[in-house]
Symmetry: D2
Subunit: 337 residues, 4 copies
């Protein structure tokens, strides 16, 4: 932490700030410039984060130097985190492809899609049983019935499953069925929920909030890690910008930058990242080319009748074509599929 | 809903879309232009929202005409909603000022602040007992102890209280103490939570998410209203933009525009809207000048030692000055304080 | 400037950076922390801005401490800049109201509007002769004929005029007529244009670009100031955000923050800041309540037939009502009108 | 164009709107819904764009259906535009790689870089002679001397050149040297400049403004096309968002979406799109994987001493590695390099 004093700060003001910091047991480095005096705090000053030095008389601003996350950081854990979900490797050389419908709508829709995505090359089945919907009048998911259908689809196809959990009180129920907890974009900063999944050992897939910075995404991952659950993935899924032509702006920069900052596996969601099925394949290729460890993609056998997010869902045959492309692309970036 | 066909759509494609809509029991108006054919759906087509007509062959885009909210809309409820919280009027001519510390830190801090804001002219006491914090290592609030202190402060000063509830399972507990549920910006789209507070009759104060549109804010209010709780307030609290000099960008336009769209009382939060105490007074005046029904403002007797959000908290004496300004400003916009 | 070294930077890397800085004639303050070494540069290091110390081996990031503008800064010029335009005071206690049509369309339209805004209380007449339009097929302004009409309107009404200049080669021509050069939002970073108006002594009104930071706005003012022209005003006119309900988001925070940072007069444009005539009056009041030194407002006698920006133009009678409101509001913030 | 009437609009208000439209010679389609009456305008209503029907009594909103660009649209020109610049193909199967320093700094720097990028596989040399800089105190480019050095580098290496032009009055001078005019992001809506390059036959490379929509980008291309110059390229170069970790957010969605909307060649600039050299290679691969027709990349032999944008410049050896990657990637997307 560096404290920049105002240009006309008095010696008394400077001393007062220095004394405050030393009172918390930190050493200080003073740098008397020609325009500004700068006070550096020596050591891991994350515990000082709540102290409002900017309010002390004569202080112009406070610059925080350390990233606020520790367990999620490569500084503290340089090697890539890898693990397996029912035998499917996550985070290593092999790309992980999660696919399936936005919402579980019926047993037949789900089983049909599950077989289709498996044949096309997906390793994990996605499907929502509890759906966050901006309108109270929209389909809200099948609830526990949907979870049972997901478990059945896993039984039949052998694909592990990922599904969203939306409330801390639902963690126990969803945890009985799912192989991976999905934390949706709208819940990225639902801290009671992050704490609840952090107390389990089920892998957690944290999606970036639509206006969350990469740093905040890793702070949310930190909540889960700090709870003792080390099987965490993070996922870029598009951010909200001024551009009206797409549902979100897929932040492709986040893929390589998150890989630099964190050892956790980095996924991307080109379905929500674009909101348009005909942009999914090109941007899915882009994410792999940029270094993503895997993708999560919405696939629906009849998108025009989908009960949610049909506009961004691929038909199974188009998904199969995309996986073919990705198989040819993978070796270019040192990956397999 | 209006469906715009592609410039080269065939008659067969057009008929197919028309048949689909008619199959749902709607009438259709066909407009054959020189460049595009346009299909209008007659009637309240909100139930068609989930149908992905954009995916049908030959469709270029679908334009939704109706606002998705009903209960929150002035179209369906032209007069302003007004109600009282323990005798304090909300939503009428008299401005409502909520003030207090970001977080309840101790009994003495709270009582001192409560008396100070009451003397300055606030009508309602704010204070957080459960705090959403982006870092798992930050102070998370005093929990139920904090709620008890709030109730005590109400006892002593007579001020009704508002405090945040963060999880559906906490609604019963928080509801035992609070006079108003605050739904924080990060929870604006926490639908299980909105449903839970909608099942009570305790007034609900919904803050706009930091990247939520005004329409989405009113959809979240709609969740509460649809549950049967009609005592809902909405609050502009700053949105996330590219500007790095302030914590958020207070969307002053939202104040008059929300007043046009909804009959619900419209508040503003200049503390979070700016993130800097020395911008709070000018922007608070601005919000009242723009037509807000009230304000929520962070006040702390010793901001430099506040355990959260000290940088944006006013000292009691500055808050008192601000209330003086507002008293002089209120009549200019036909209000009292 | 502060240079933060990576956590594992070697002594050799640290020395190399130090030597580089010293080679440019600066002194260095070294702060050896437990996690990071931090190198502070002593003195006015603005000239080092182009040096890419972040690229040197072992460097994690470079934090710039000084604001990049000097002439525009209150640090170097603490008192408010004030001046007069044909007797109309700018930047002092008295508010300056500029009003008129978006575009000059005809002699009669302009003269009618000029008299109307004068009677309502405006001090300066605005009107565009050269119009930046996003479509090449839209009305582009009357050009020099429009300038002549503006001069005529000044002659008749006595109101000084402000009009936009769009290219360096037009500065001489526009300068023959106008009392104030307007630099439009799209040209805020048109540096050849800023240099050209900086070489004149005609006052310059710089509008904030729609995605420019406040710092960048002051850097554009700095271009003009550095050319020797000290009569500069800056204007908040709405920024581009994700919110689709308004044309722009008026950044009300910018008004008091710019007043802190700069001694230059700070204006606001509620017409472009909202894009909707029925939001202009409430936000105009808000800007004055927040401390703006003046406003620029679009007024058109027949907005439904305006050749540009009709949707955000006030009719003269509504503008007159607004000025009445502002007259009552001014004393609350220590101003007159 | 579709005009949506307010829910309580009277028949008189509806008739008035209809009459207005018919007075301009358009036919109207009336759709009387249960909640709203909707008025559709039949035909190419782009000429009505300036009419403010939203201001007529009883109108709720106006929805524009047609894209405002024509010459740039695939609707009017379905096949890809292709052309050659001194024998280098643009817009076809073969990818076009433009590379070189941000700014021309000296003859030796330029020639060294030119040979290096040529050997690595670039087809076109970039280099700025006139530099838009946010600070008046920064290096502003070598001007015409820089243009001469570019011409010399072309002479020596055979690479055609691209360089920025910043003012209409400079078009003649820059046009004497350059093979392609670059319109920088800050000048995307500098209409006098777009008109000036539109009057030449030299190819024009239009970069997206940092807060411009894709539609606005194509409107700027339309300005050039409407002037008679059909050799236009557009370039995605990152947009401004709330994310502070990167200089811009490269909008990868724009690459495939622009390819759908326009027949013009679509380029991407991963240097400005990220602002960090170590993100350039992964995002450059991403852009090609997403379907870009080419790239423009900053390369500097000694980035740490570059006079501008060093932080985002690749060293020649890293650029060569990137081109190797792209050669292996090209066939996956049906391209050659």
């Amino acid at each position: 932490m560096i404290i920049v004093m105002k240009s006309h700060a008095s010696n008394r003001e400077i001393s007062f700030v220095v004394n405050q910091i030393e009172a918390y047991g930190y050493r200080v480095h003073l740098s008397q410039g020609t325009e500004r005096t700068i006070i550096g705090v020596v050591g891991d000053d994350r515990p000082l984060e709540n102290h409002n030095f900017e309010l002390l008389s004569g202080v112009e601003k406070v610059v925080r130097i350390l990233q606020p996350f520790k367990l999620a950081s490569r500084d503290f854990h340089p090697e890539d985190t890898t693990f397996e979900v029912r035998g499917v490797p996550i985070g290593g050389t092999k790309l992980a492809i999660m696919a399936g419908p936005c919402a579980v709508e019926s047993r037949s829709q789900l089983i049909e899609t599950a077989w289709a995505v498996k044949e096309a090359g997906a390793g994990i089945l996605r499907g929502g049983a509890f759906k966050p919907r901006s309108s109270p009048y929209s389909f809200q998911g099948l609830g526990e019935d949907g979870l049972e259908m997901l478990a059945e689809a896993r039984e039949e196809t052998g694909l592990p499953i990922i599904t969203e959990v939306m409330a801390p009180e639902a963690v126990a129920t969803v945890g009985k069925y799912t192989d991976i907890f999905q934390i949706g974009a709208r819940n990225m900063q639902n801290y009671p929920l992050l704490l609840a999944v952090g107390r389990t050992q089920i892998p957690v897939f944290v999606k970036r909030g639509m206006s969350s910075t990469m740093q905040e995404l890793l702070m949310s991952a930190e909540y889960v890690l700090a709870g003792g659950n080390r099987n965490v993935m993070v996922c870029e899924r598009g951010i909200r910008t001024f551009e009206p032509a797409t549902r979100n702006t897929l932040d492709i920069n986040a893929v390589p930058l998150l890989k630099q900052w964190t050892h956790l596996p980095v996924f991307a969601d080109p379905s929500h990242g674009t909101g348009k099925w005909d942009l999914v394949a090109p941007t899915a290729r882009a994410c792999i080319a940029a270094g993503a460890d895997g993708l999560i993609i919405e696939v629906h056998p009849h998108p025009e009748n989908a009960m949610s997010d049909g506009a961004q869902s691929l038909k199974p045959e188009r998904f199969a074509e995309l996986v073919c492309d990705l198989r040819r692309l993978a070796p270019v970036v040192g990956r397999t599929l």
